[in-house]
Symmetry: D2
């Protein structure tokens, strides 16, 4: 059983009031291993909704803040101050909120994408470097046990040198013009003033490229992107084809789409090495197919035979998205409670501000490449 | 998002000290939706281990009890008494612990199997009936969203009248004589003095028959069982073949095995009705295959199109075993907080003492049938 | 590429005139590897239809016979006589036709089930023994490459000693009472005067038990069967549950059903040994899952890595039912052309009169067991 | 049962002598439905091997030709001349052989790729147009029943207007430098003097683009290709990433690879329309997943419910690669025997010289695009 620690940590949250989706996911993730207590929050920009949400979640009235700036300042002054703040606001606020808490010396756990623009991302990265305050980005899919197993297998040479990486990330929720009938998620996801210049490429393409980087350890040099808005009247891309070139000479492809009927959250990774290959599918996340060249494919199972990566339940008792998310919170707890003894393994696995900056660079490069008609563009 | 309630509930736990598996699962399940706080416990029969375990879990010293009888009595006297106790001791203690808390008027959430013998089960059922105190049995698999969807589909006639139900529940962890090398789980699971007279049939066969009953709503009349201990020197069955006859004339089969290499927790349900059929696999639990007779098979997805059953995350973001378990705790919270307004839906879905009694009758009937060489035996 | 032989063989056929299904399958199977020419036939009991069918198939008029007795006699007198006759008549004629050709010294390739009754089967087996004329039974599923691979793996100890064998064979074509609307296949399959006393158990249960025997090499001692006719007004079983006991102490189960919506020809085999297990599914026949105990499952592929069994096309170019059937004809050709050098391998793999007799004994034992309410019955 | 015709046809073959793979596949395909007899051949450029191969295949000595030019001339003079010639030589001979037979007025069934260069392809297309002699290209995958079903579904609007088409075609046989150890297939496939300038893109990329065109009916405007030779010292591409733009504004991607361990012949097609989507996988070819937007995915089965496309065996009796190939021969027979009544359906489904020309244009455009560093290039 993962997750036992000596000390429970105190979590604050900005955003995630009543009705919000990702805030609720963060809270489940934080609760799951029993290492975090939610004790403070600025849960909504609407003061009344903020107060009600806090009350429902058992946050004491004096730590139910009306705005995040105030929260950062006041929490920093408390002896029982929060150990970290989870930022689950709309994307365009991430940078501002993170800045406030980093300056207050409070660790940040930030939902992705890290910021709404590359400029913000660079400023944030600089601030993290300058302050030395921990910054964790919840790139959820890196929390899956079999994704970590895949990374470990690649690292120890199980498939030889990586030649090619393909990631597809397919959804269908934007196949219809649902934003025109007022669906809330669709409204802001398809509005460049709220989401930035990237649509599908920012929303899920960043997960795809993060997964490729995380598992292979390769550094991405350049991209060639073809972004399309298929939805009638849609201003942001809902389908993205990206060719990848890594620094080692390895190549790759990303296909991210939100208009592919019959798919829901089909994030799949296939890596070809010169001595073997592997395949993982987020919708069946407990399995990992590994093929040593010249041998039959092996189906590795979470918690099963020959596994290096720990998890919570025995093989055959499925873990899923919430568990992957919770693993990030468990790792964050490990990092934050072992300041002296650096918890290297968790540190190296946890996505941080560099991953966030890389994601924003990736999106910016894809946008430039696509606007230029599909040209190779440095990341 | 499931799980919002007005009042948080207080949970006690008996058993589940350091190193215990199922206790940790119960705690995750209780935490996941944020409705339960673990505030009291008699976590081990070893007082020192009990105290240490309690401290690690943040239980106040005055509610870290040395034994469960004392805990039941003292908790019942508190104004901030626990709302329910989770019983996660070895099976042979379930009945005694449950009795203590039921008599103290404290609701019970009991791990399965309910008791070690049919006699105990009957006494417990009588006590529940007499006291009217809520008793919940954690038949985990009934907490899966698609199992509940299957039940709802059958209930509204989507597959017509049920003709045949097949359940297979396959594991491989007892394929080797691991009890001979001291594996702890295997030791007590294969020891009749600790587990009772049923091995595989009690451990997982009860889940299989519970799943069949839960989804179909049928009442089981009789069984014909062939129980085998394949492991060398093993005294309890590790493989069970059971033929089923239901009161409507429907028939069925259960194949439960713990010696089937290549399987981990392969609980699969296939139901044939006169107007359609369905199939569900616990290791891929977000999917449910439904075939209206004469039409192509449809693959229903949790949170996807045309779903009746609520769950936590969108389609394609896998939920698993811990979420199913947490749903039982969420339902328990709903039941216990709505004493006046009866929460009928949750009540009807939550397994209770009657399910536990039925499971023990099923095991007893299978044992009698098999001892008699495989004869039809009333349940 | 399988199938090259020095000499082409001449095939006759009894039954299989215009519109017949299985006759056409036999002809494709015989043609596929280019070793057989269809040169003679008594294709229908209706002389005009027999003649027309023969003409369509390019059979010379003097070898288009009006009845099978005449055909057996006249073919035996020719110098260019047929090398074998394929019997694809309705089941109740198999024994009579086979007898005629065996007595004429002409090899028989007989569709299954071998006969309509156990008595006929025993007489036929005696006749084969007495005459020494080759008799081949087209138990199609033994022709699949991966079924043969499974047999070879079991034989060389890859899964250790076999403990348990489960076969399920599921179809849905009798889920509705299609015989009442005149569907031809359903009419005779559900009519005891045409099909004998066994319905589903004879039609597909025999394939299931044959597959179990073929792959494991075990000898079946006794059965306990529960046969049911779920279709309203149906006189023959359309669902069969059978428990198996083999001579080594191994056990097993067969579930054969023709009323399971969502299944078409779902013949699946799962074998548990004390050192590993395997799984095969006829609807995905190029794969074979093999799990050495304590290691991850390997997915073996036809023509892929580490395969012992030859086949026609490279891995990933699917072979199916017709290829499996053709393999029986190729093996038959090998047997019949290598009379001197005994083609041991093909001989040992080809189902013969003993398999047919065993199948009829199995059906008879299941019928007796079920009529007796489900009792252990010697095969 | 597909394939019954009044008249049997006579087939000649050029190439395909002893030991050749694709010649043997053509012969099986021609035999399978019983409509073709192989009666003539120039089976090898080595006269002795040609004669031996012919004898083995039952070709009369006077029709076992030493070279294809002679064969074309002499066959054209016979009253029992062949109805068509199958060309299964190495690719660089396709054009010359086809030219000889077209000029002799004999129909051609040509293996793919049609020619070794675009120039040859254009000349051949002109010759076909000029002579009016039937020319059939064996793009095997269009012969699968579920591929034809997919085409029919798209044509009747089942998924609305096509937005995006993705095809992946993955193999692993060139993951190792097998050409360096003399593997015959690998030797010529990786040698530009024998295979032309395209490696993987020509060998399997052409199948991928053909499949996309066949099912969608869209016309491809331009491509952007990134071709790579990952194998050490390899001169031809073994991995190809191609972005597609169709004339309607639809887009697509092709990923073709022969260095992806764990894959064998993984040709998969996923199409997104504005009212639904579909998915097909050549390694499980009897299934077709169709998702009407807003409804659960349906799993269509060959010969199953609601199917428009005929095939040979009932649902659940797998058909595979050889059956798909045979369907092309059956269609060819239908076309050639119904010269007066044009057999429109078969004609429209059968790949012809235009498909071959398109394939060569596609390869040429991909090569230009890739050499130019990945630029949009007209097809």
């Amino acid at each position: 059983m993962a997750g036992a620690v000596g000390r429970r940590l105190k979590l604050g949250m900005v955003g995630g009031g009543q009705g919000a989706f990702i805030g609720a996911v963060h809270r489940i993730a934080a609760r799951l291993d029993g290492q975090w207590d939610l004790v403070a929050g600025a849960l909504s920009s609407d003061p009344q909704r903020a107060a009600q949400s806090a009350a429902e979640l058992g946050i004491a009235p004096d730590r139910a803040y009306a705005d995040y700036d105030q929260m950062a300042v006041l929490e920093a002054q408390r002896t029982d101050r929060i150990d970290a703040v989870a930022i689950v606001t709309p994307n365009h606020l991430h940078a501002k909120v993170a800045t406030a808490f980093l300056r207050a010396g409070i660790a940040v756990i930030c939902d992705k994408p890290m910021t709404a623009s590359l400029e913000e991302a660079e400023e944030l990265a600089a601030l993290v470097a300058q302050t030395g305050v921990p910054f964790i980005l919840t790139q959820t899919y890196t929390g899956y046990a079999m994704v970590r197993e895949a990374r470990a297998l690649v690292a120890r040479g199980a498939i030889g040198q990586v030649r090619h990486v393909q990631v597809e990330y397919l959804q269908d929720w934007l196949a219809s013009p649902v934003e025109q009938s007022g669906q809330k998620q669709a409204l802001w996801r398809t509005d460049p003033t709220l989401s930035g210049a990237g649509g599908c490429i920012a929303d899920i393409g960043t997960h795809a490229v993060n997964l490729a980087s995380f598992v292979t350890g390769l550094s991405l040099d350049k991209v060639l992107a073809d972004l399309t808005a298929f939805g009638p009247g849609r201003r942001l891309d809902d389908n993205a084809a990206v060719l990848l070139r890594f620094d080692t000479g390895a190549k790759g492809m990303i296909w991210a789409s939100q208009i592919t009927p019959g798919t829901k959250n089909a994030l799949r990774l296939r890596i070809s090495g010169d001595r073997g290959g592997l395949f993982w599918d987020q919708e069946n996340p407990d399995l990992l197919e590994v093929t040593p060249l010249g041998e039959p494919t092996r189906v590795l199972r979470r918690s099963g035979e020959q596994m290096m990566t720990p998890s919570r339940t025995p093989a055959g008792h499925p873990e899923g998205y919430l568990e992957a998310f919770a693993t990030l919170y468990a790792d964050a707890a490990a990092v934050l409670t072992k300041a002296g003894s650096p918890a290297e393994q968790s540190v190296s696995l946890l996505p941080d501000v560099r991953d966030g900056l890389f994601g924003m660079r990736f999106v910016a490069a894809c946008l430039r490449s696509s606007v230029n008609g599909g040209t190779w563009t440095l990341v």
